[in-house]
């Protein structure tokens, strides 16, 4: 019986010198035989979660258990053994080895697992035949179309018949006839003893799933009235990497917007006084907060849901957006934080 049990998972990594936390205290449980769909916009952590499940990215905190194995605690030979026998991954960018032809790419995990050459070859041929690439065995990835490369990547993920199959946007490069074939294949793989986890933003896949996990920060309630909020000096309004719910305007006092750097330092992006608003992009577009906001002295803010905020700006109230202290390294517009 193989179950996937993700508890309190947090993953942080460095991107452009800043700390990014695409996964923040995530819990997920998938039972044997289930097909789980990870839904979310770009940047919501789908690929990060799959990477952590595939044990190719070490989480910052939390645990992942697959069956009786605690994946997050694996090191050395045990880690290699997990990647070799327990998990197969269809990468979003295929990640085929360019110097190997289709057949050898599919055989690669079998060679790693020490399967005899003849058995490895016949297994790879059978899989490539099954996905309609029987006549492309000798072609290198560079000579294959995007859809064909994707199918080779699917065959490679299934080569060693792993109990956990992870697929990142498996329908992204396929036409509708190929999509149908892949959907049928993924559904048929989710049988007792095996788990299939698919990351996608393709909502056509919804009926396929036994379980759906939404990774985008949940949108705020539309009916919530504007809140007047008081902050003590140094108190955090929202933290970098957290989910977004409200847009804030400064009524009294000052708020600083800072971004946490990978080297442990913080960078001041803006200092905002009364009449300024900040944090609008996050809730409007379902993004995580790109910086931390905290009160400098005693501060009074009003928090609006995105809908109320739109009405407020549309009513012609004299509000100004935050201005960066210096040109930001990321193209995120003129706001202080998302």
């Amino acid at each position: 019986m193989v179950d996937v049990d993700v508890r309190d998972l947090t993953v942080e990594y460095s991107s452009g010198g800043y700390v990014v936390r695409p996964i923040d205290h995530l819990d997920l449980r998938v039972a044997s035989g289930e097909l789980a769909l990870l839904l979310g916009a770009s940047g919501s952590g789908k690929t990060t979660l799959l990477s952590a499940l595939a044990a190719i990215l070490r989480p910052t905190a939390g645990t992942i258990r697959v069956g009786d194995l605690e994946v997050t605690g694996l090191r050395g030979a045990a880690l290699t053994g997990y990647r070799r026998h327990r998990v197969g991954v269809v990468f979003q960018t295929f990640n085929l080895v360019p110097s190997l032809n289709a057949l050898d790419n599919v055989q690669a995990p079998l060679w790693a697992a020490g399967i005899p050459a003849r058995r490895a070859r016949s297994r790879a041929e059978e899989l490539l035949e099954r996905i309609g690439l029987g006549k492309r065995l000798g072609h290198r990835p560079g000579d294959l179309s995007g859809g064909q490369q994707q199918r080779v990547a699917i065959a490679r993920a299934l080569a060693h018949d792993p109990p956990l199959v992870l697929a990142d946007e498996p329908t992204a490069h396929l036409d509708y006839i190929q999509v149908e074939g892949v959907l049928r294949l993924l559904r048929s793989l989710a049988e007792p003893g095996r788990i299939v986890v698919v990351a996608t933003h393709d909502e056509r896949l919804l009926p396929l799933a036994d379980q759906i996990a939404h990774l985008s920060p949940s949108p705020s309630a539309a009916s919530r009235p504007p809140e007047r909020l008081r902050y003590r000096p140094g108190q955090v309004v929202f933290e970098q990497g957290a989910g977004s719910d409200l847009v804030y305007t400064v009524e009294e006092g000052e708020v600083e917007i800072v971004r946490q750097r990978t080297d442990g330092g913080v960078e001041l992006l803006a200092l905002l006084g009364p009449g300024r608003y900040f944090g609008e992009l996050g809730p409007l577009f379902g993004l995580r907060r790109s910086a931390t906001a905290r009160a400098v002295g005693h501060a009074v803010l009003t928090g609006y849901t995105p809908g109320d905020f739109r009405e407020l700006v549309g009513s012609g109230v004299g509000l100004a957006p935050a201005r960066w202290a210096r040109t930001p390294p990321c193209p995120e517009g003129p706001d202080g934080a998302k």
Binding site: L50, T80, N95
Partner: protein, 112 residues
């Protein structure tokens, strides 16, 4: 001259290993162990270095008589060249590979 030759072989082998970082990460992700990657790539580097040295010996032997001035190559220089090339190829590939396999595969793919 020896140092220059060794430096060129070493840097080319080292850089070619780092260029294949993504390929190494893919192989790690599908279950190849660090040891097998180190072994496989080091053998490739040693064989390539040796082949290049043997080719250089052949070209030197052919070109020496047609040079406008006398070229004397000590008999020991040829085996020494091949041995040095293999050793430098081995050391450079192992140093490069140790750095390459220490990277988490998902980060080598350009960030998750």
């Amino acid at each position: 001259m020896w140092l220059v030759a060794a430096g060129i072989i070493g840097s080319i082998v080292y850089l070619s290993v780092l260029e294949r970082l993504r390929e190494l990460a893919v192989l790690k992700a599908v279950g190849a162990s660090n040891r097998s990657l180190l072994g496989g790539f080091a053998i490739q580097a040693v064989l390539l270095s040796a082949a290049a040295a043997v080719l250089a010996v052949g070209i030197a032997t052919v070109l020496a008589p047609v040079f406008p001035f006398t070229v004397e190559i000590p008999a020991l220089a040829f085996p020494r060249l091949v041995a040095t090339a293999m050793l430098v190829g081995l050391v450079a590939s192992v140093v490069g590979l140790r750095r390459a396999v220490a990277v988490q595969p998902a980060l080598a793919f350009g960030g998750p």
